[in-house]
């Protein structure tokens, strides 16, 4: 108790003194800091008469952040990145699928048979867990191995803060913090990382807006889905020589749509649930630095690509088992998967999707990366395409995008299904890791639930309207 009295007396003295020094203490203090810094710097730093090296930076900034050119250049850079990814990923994807699925899978299957595995054990382990893992590697690895290094090179060069600079006025207009542009850019890599990055925003209101809307940045788990579906359905609808460019443009469109949604939702939130004005901040544009190519390749391959791939595999293995089980456990002679698919098809039809896509999104809640493998596998199981796969619940070989396209078209997919899947992939609940991160950062069940359900509600609304309008027109 004695301690408490003494401590409170310190605080009381502080309170009294605060009156004496006046309320401009903070300003006085900041002024002295700046004065001291200036006087020291003037003694030790010698600037050159001319600043030739700075002018290159300035010229670049004038172009990259220009009022008129800034956004077109941004879209162009995005498009080039996706075009490179789309063009480059197809061949290695086929090669890996050849090795892991065509060659290794039958070998493993034979081995299991010769050791005397019961059919269900080799089914769960090899047709379920192993194949889904092989699938994730062949679908995910090539685009990631191309996309991440390019993205990291851009980051290293210093382009991302310019993107944020271009976006800043827009965020300010919708009542959000300008730094949200930075966290949004981080979200393009991984939403969980983007949510953590919102710590740079000091106002709790604006931070919540940034957290809730981060999911509208397409994360790397969803890029391959977008790229694959765009290649098959959008690129497939265009003449062959334009296919690459058209599909890249479609992916850019979805990414930009995501940014538009993040602005719209921020605007809505800052006028309803999270009312308030945007606070000011300073955004520092770092100098452009020549990227260290080799080191970037190393870090982006090791820390990003392998990390994300590993995460995908970790989630794909149990998901593969679940897929095999729901496709092989029968009730009244019909598999659990088919029960769900048949039951949900009429509902999914309204949104231009199908029961398989809905089931795939439920199975893939842990990780967005495995949506496409799950969709394909369920389609095969549903159609009983024995000739392609080795039986129900088996993920099959796919040497190329053409084969994937054949499967999906056999499953009744149209251009509309493709477009809606791309939209739904942009607008649905965050993955489980992100949901958990949102909870850890906000410590609030309410905001976690809102961040989870809001995008799904939007996804269903958008796909509903797109489908109804599409059906009216065509």
């Amino acid at each position: 108790m004695n301690d408490n009295i003494k401590r409170e007396s310190i605080l009381a003295v502080a309170n009294n003194l605060r009156w004496e020094v006046g309320d401009n203490l903070h300003d006085t203090l900041m002024e002295s800091i700046y004065e001291n810094a200036t006087s020291i710097a003037s003694k030790v730093v010698l600037y050159p008469d001319k600043k030739p090296a700075f002018s290159l930076d300035r010229t670049l900034d004038k172009i990259l952040t220009s009022k008129y050119l800034g956004f077109p250049i941004m879209f162009l850079i995005l498009a080039v990145v996706f075009w490179l990814t789309i063009q480059g990923a197809n061949i290695p994807s086929g090669l890996i699928a050849n090795l892991l699925v065509d060659t290794l899978h039958p070998a493993l299957k034979n081995m299991a048979n010769s050791i005397g595995f019961p059919w269900w054990l080799s089914g769960v382990l090899i047709d379920g867990a192993y194949l889904s893992m092989a699938w994730v590697i062949s679908v995910m690895l090539p685009p990631m191995a191309i996309f991440f290094p390019i993205y990291t090179l851009l980051e290293d060069f210093g382009y991302l803060p310019r993107v944020a600079f271009n976006m800043d006025p827009l965020y300010k207009k919708v009542g959000a913090h300008g730094r949200q542009a930075l966290t949004m850019a981080m979200g393009f890599g991984c939403n969980a990382a983007g949510v953590v990055a919102t710590r740079v925003i000091d106002s709790p209101r604006e931070r919540l807006i940034a957290i809730i809307t981060n999911n509208f940045s397409l994360c790397n788990g969803r890029w391959p889905t977008q790229i694959l579906i765009a290649t098959i359905f959008i690129g497939g609808a265009a003449p062959a020589y334009l296919a690459g460019i058209v599909s890249a443009a479609a992916v850019v469109f979805i990414a930009v749509l995501g940014i538009v949604f993040s602005l719209l939702v921020s605007w809505g939130l800052s006028r309803t649930l999270l009312k308030g004005e945007a606070s000011a901040f300073s955004l520092e544009l770092p100098p452009y630095r020549p990227p260290r190519i080799l080191q970037t390749l190393y870090t982006s391959l090791i820390s990003r690509t392998i990390f994300v791939l590993w995460r995908a595999i970790v989630f794909a293995v149990p998901a593969g088992m679940v897929i095999w089980l729901v496709a092989n456990i029968n009730i009244d002679g019909v598999s659990v998967a088919n029960h769900f698919i048949n039951w949900s098809n009429p509902f999914a039809f309204i949104f231009g999707l199908n029961g398989i896509i809905l089931l795939a999104y439920i199975i893939a809640i842990p990780a967005n990366e495995i949506v496409i493998p799950t969709v394909l596998m369920l389609t095969v199981a549903k159609l009983g395409m024995m000739s392609v796969g080795a039986g129900s619940g088996v993920m099959f070989e796919l040497d190329s995008v053409t084969d994937t396209a054949a499967i999906l078209q056999a499953g009744g997919w149209t251009l509309l299904t493709g477009i809606n899947l791309m939209l739904f992939s942009l607008l649905h609940n965050p993955c489980s890791t992100t949901i958990f991160t949102i909870y850890k950062e906000t410590k609030s069940v309410k905001w976690t639930v809102i961040s989870t359900l809001l995008p799904i509600a939007m996804g269903f609304t958008i796909t509903f309207f797109v489908t109804q309008i599409w059906r009216l027109i065509f």
């Binding site: 003194l17 003694k43 710590r199 870090t299």
Partner: protein
């Protein structure tokens, strides 16, 4: 700290890079805690990766590190725990990243605080340096991005700067690994007390402020004798900083000096 040392000490064991053992995430039984602080995008994480051998993702944008990262290294038979703090422009505001940095320097009581400074933007970076020197007595200034400064024709008189600030100044280019030897040496010297820092203290023109700080410092010293950053605590109290008020109420402030004792005994 100058180039002359470099030539003469080629045979000196302390000056041998072979003495650096990158321990990665192994931080068991460390002897000293070293904090890395500085403005955003000055290369803290690059220095961190270089010394620990870890691969914290680095990026050319301000605000990449928002939480603190930890790693270890061994140098001339002493084990160091290195803590990479979020980059901040000041320690006076209240965003989460700035709080992480400030609370660690204040409550974590690092044995050495390495302040990473962008050599091409010294004046602005000094604002943070001066604030850190108010909190801690033991700091090393890592004058990073010297390659960019040279490219831009900027010259820095590091000896005068060292005299002004009262701490070692080490010019480096962490991306190229330049100056890391000297940096390790300086960290080691300050940690072992071979180099005694005489940190620059802010000069204010306001007489009222100076008397108020003196009065309040006296009050605090009675309750918390031996507090290393008395002046700064007084200043924050005058500003009404809630977390400092709370730590006075709870008595946590008193732990500041206790925590450093075991480390000093080991040293």
């Amino acid at each position: 700290m100058s180039n002359v040392d470099l030539n003469n000490c080629a045979n000196c064991p302390v000056h041998n890079m072979g003495n650096l053992k990158k321990l990665g995430i192994d931080m068991s039984n460390f002897d000293f805690v070293v904090a890395l602080a500085g403005n955003p995008n000055t290369g803290k994480s690059t220095v961190f990766n270089y010394l620990t051998g870890l691969r914290q993702h680095t990026g050319n944008w301000p605000g990449k590190t928002v939480a603190r990262a930890e790693g270890g290294f061994e140098y001339s038979e002493k084990k160091f725990k290195l803590v990479d703090l979020p980059g901040t422009y000041s320690l006076l505001s209240t965003s989460t990243d700035e709080e992480v940095a400030r609370d660690f320097i204040l409550f974590g009581q690092p044995d050495v605080t390495v302040i990473v400074v962008d050599a091409t933007r010294i004046e602005r970076n000094l604002n943070l340096v001066l604030q850190i020197l108010e909190i801690t007595d033991r700091a090393v200034l890592c004058l990073n991005l010297m390659d960019e400064a040279r490219r831009n024709g900027i010259q820095v008189d590091d000896r005068t700067l060292s005299k002004e600030l009262g701490i070692p100044i080490i010019p480096t280019s962490a991306r190229q690994g330049e100056g890391m030897n000297e940096l390790l040496n300086a960290i080691n010297d300050v940690a072992l007390g071979k180099y005694i820092c005489k940190p620059y203290r802010l000069k204010t023109n306001s007489a009222e402020l100076n008397t108020a700080i003196a009065k309040l410092s006296k009050e605090i010293e009675i309750e918390y004798p031996g507090l290393p950053n008395l002046r700064w605590v007084a200043l924050r109290l005058l500003e009404g900083d809630q977390s400092i008020i709370d730590s006075i109420r709870s008595g946590d402030l008193g732990n500041l000096k206790k925590e450093i004792i075991p480390n000093e005994v080991e040293a």
